[in-house]
Amino acid sequence: MLADTVRPFLAEQASVSHMRALRDADDRTGFSPELWKRFAELGLTGVLMDEVDGGLGLGHVEAGIVLEEIGRNLTPSPFLETAVGAVTTLKGGSATQRQAWLPRVLAGEAVGALAVDETARHRPERIGLHAERVGNGFRLLGEKRFVTYGHVANFLIVAARTAGSEHEPLGITLFLVESNVANLTAEADRLADASLAARVKFGGVQVSRDAVIGEIDLGFGILTATLSALRAGVSAELVGVGSHALAMTVGYLKQRKQFGRLIGSFQALQHRAAHLYAEMEVARAAVLKAQQLLDGKDERADQAVMVAKAMSGMASALAVQEGIQMHGGIGMTDEYDIGLYMKRQRVLAELFGDADYHANFLAKLAGY
């Protein structure tokens, strides 16, 4: 069982203290390359990679097991971006692209990142970054933001516009861009949870025709598949964050005494904890359902992923907020971990679309 390997591995090597150590040292990499190597040794970098490419050939359920533990331990790791996002995109890439990058990803030597968002809210159907045809290749002009691990990635997957206007899905092309090319700069900003996300500037980046992933103008399909994989992954991570916040809170309720009683014996708190548990159970089931449908290549998968991302976002938000409140004053301190969970939840809830974005999309699909 994958869980039997991943759980002790992350709990021992990458617990919250690991994250704190990186943060307190003002580390600008955002993760530990040594730890990433260990991910590779365990085969985790290849969890979604086909066996012919040297991967484990497993599915989103298994990737979700890893991400849930990452969430529980607040482990800084480019696993989502690389092993889930980049690997999924490369499934639609050329043989040359796969041969160039998959072995390096597998070995823990390369990090990939996805550059989609251009505004402060996730709007992948609105891509403006300009890819102009120049000779046999393209010239990229524009800016991407909220590119997690973008500043340390060895390659970027960039959604750009090769035709049409800003609001059309047609005319979007995906490019695989090496990060050391000329006219590309990636500036890392530290976020609330101490993780780093980049603003990536394309000041006329030249790429060849071979950089196109899939077909010109028809990148939206692969982008959607990649986003679904990423959203399912973030949802699993949110379940990990929320479950751990709940567990910490319940643990605290069983140990803190006020008014001569354990505070966990007060019904006002019991009911809130029980409500929260119910919300988390529903979120967990929604996430599992989405992963299973993705693995079964079911046509309802993308929709289930949106439900999962929205539901896990809402439930985990409640988990961290109630977590702070029920910890009382100690919950407000930096020394105590619960606040770190709240900050991480915020970032993940925004990543690849928040609950409102997905609910709105579902409404449109349903025609109202």
Binding site: V250, L253, K254, R261, L262, G264, S265, Q267, L269, Q270, H271, A273, A274, H275, Y277, A278, E279, E281, V282, A283, R284, A285, A286, L288, K289, A304, M306, V307, A308, A310, M311, M314, A355, D356, H358, A359, N360, L362, A363, K364, A366, G367, Y368
Partner: protein, 393 residues
């Protein structure tokens, strides 16, 4: 092809050939449901035909053993049958409270004789059951019940009062909690079955805020109940009662799934109108509906998973409280939104157009979802104590 795939295909073909077209239309009112019982009424012949055909296959209780008239299907096959029925829009041939609650309880706790006598009649819809649990002084604190059963050698003599007994005036038999020992609260309760036609049983309907009177006060005056009708051991009825409640909670939470109901978004579009781009012209209602739909779809994932775990005996017994709590609160939200989306149409109480005020009456009825079968507060207590293991006072 796997066995399950073969089963799916033959099931689909059978349903297509045997489910009458009328039984594939969405359920619009209570009358569209078949309750069975000695005084069964059928709104149309197709209802009876559909019931008879399903009974013949054992599919009103697909996962019960064949020797009691069930279908003998595995959990996987049962799920396939339900999925296929859902796909074709087949109505449930029999709406029976006893089927989802008493049935599993008798399978677990009943004697062979009790199973032989009651299960086949239950799944054929011949006997309509009601539940005698609550009493005027014992609602949430159910174990404080006081209806007593005196041991008279070969029979019990039952006296006392029950309240909120759903369908007591229409039911044929009752499963009833009685006190057989006053020295202990929980270990002095027994679980009895008896015919509502036994002398000494009296029912009096209680009218609800929806205008309907689905439940009654039920009085017992020296009702003679044969000893063979005791389920489980004497004074050990609380275990039986709790097991049954677990199943009741599961079935009540299913109200939330809303099969055959008009989708909320569609309904709101009809009454509210749309913007030129096709969106609802009330953006706030639209957002509320959309966020509700996320929760509703997530809930269907959790109920599916719960049923699976239950069938494989992997579910924590208190997990039913999670489903009951979430599902019933969700169903209340659904009906609140339906009232908002329906506007003044939804307020009509008795016009032909409003099908006798179906919406508004359904809305009122759902307020009981978080009360019947144990209130939401009681479910939260159970989750806090039994799953989260929070300390007592």
């Amino acid at each position: 092809m796997s066995d399950l795939e073969t089963f799916r295909q033959t099931t689909r073909a059978w349903l297509e050939a045997n489910c009458p077209a009328e039984m594939r239309l969405p359920i619009r009112s209570e009358e569209d449901l078949v309750w069975g019982g000695r005084r069964a009424v059928y709104k149309e012949p197709a209802q009876k035909l559909w019931l008879d055909r399903m009974v013949a296959k054992g599919w009103t209780a697909p996962d019960w053993p064949e020797r009691y008239g069930g279908g003998g299907l595995s959990p996987e096959e049962t799920k396939i049958l339900r999925n296929e029925m859902g796909r074709l829009g087949c109505r449930s041939p029999l709406s029976s409270f006893g089927l989802s609650t008493l049935g599993p309880t008798l399978l677990k706790y009943g004697t062979e004789e009790q199973k032989q006598e009651h299960l086949p009649k239950l799944l054929r819809g011949e006997i309509l059951w009601c539940q005698g649990y609550s009493e005027p002084g014992a609602g949430s604190d159910l174990a404080s019940l006081s209806t007593r059963a005196e041991d008279k050698g070969d029979h019990f003599l039952v006296s006392g009062q029950k309240i909120w007994t759903s369908d007591a005036d229409k039911a044929d038999w009752i499963f009833c909690l009685v006190r057989t020992d006053t020295s202990s609260k929980h270990s002095g309760i027994s679980f009895l079955l008896f015919d509502m036609e036994t002398p000494g049983v009296l029912t009096k309907p209680i009218k609800l805020i929806s205008g309907a009177s689905p439940f009654c006060e039920t009085f017992f005056d020296n009702v003679k109940v044969p000893k063979k009708n005791l389920v489980g051991a004497l004074n050990k009825g609380w275990d039986v009662a709790k097991y049954l409640l677990g199943h009741e909670r599961e079935s009540i939470s299913g109200f939330g799934s809303g099969s055959g109901q008009l989708e909320l978004g569609e309904m709101a579009k009809r009454t509210t109108g749309t913007e030129p781009d096709g969106r609802l012209d009330d953006p706030i209602l639209r957002a509320r509906v959309a966020l509700f739909e996320v929760r509703a779809q997530a809930f269907s994932a959790v109920s599916e998973r719960f049923v699976d775990e239950l069938k494989h005996e992997r579910a924590h017994p208190a997990q039913a409280s999670v489903i009951k709590y979430f599902g019933t609160e969700l169903n209340k939200q659904r009906h609140e939104l339906m009232m908002d989306a329906g506007g003044s149409d939804a307020l009509e109480w008795e016009s032909e157009r409003s099908r006798g005020g179906a919406n508004v009456r359904a809305w009122l009825r759902t307020k009981a979802n978080s009360i019947e079968g144990g209130t939401s507060e009681v479910q939260l207590n159970i989750i806090a104590k039994r799953i989260l293991e929070l300390p007592g006072v």
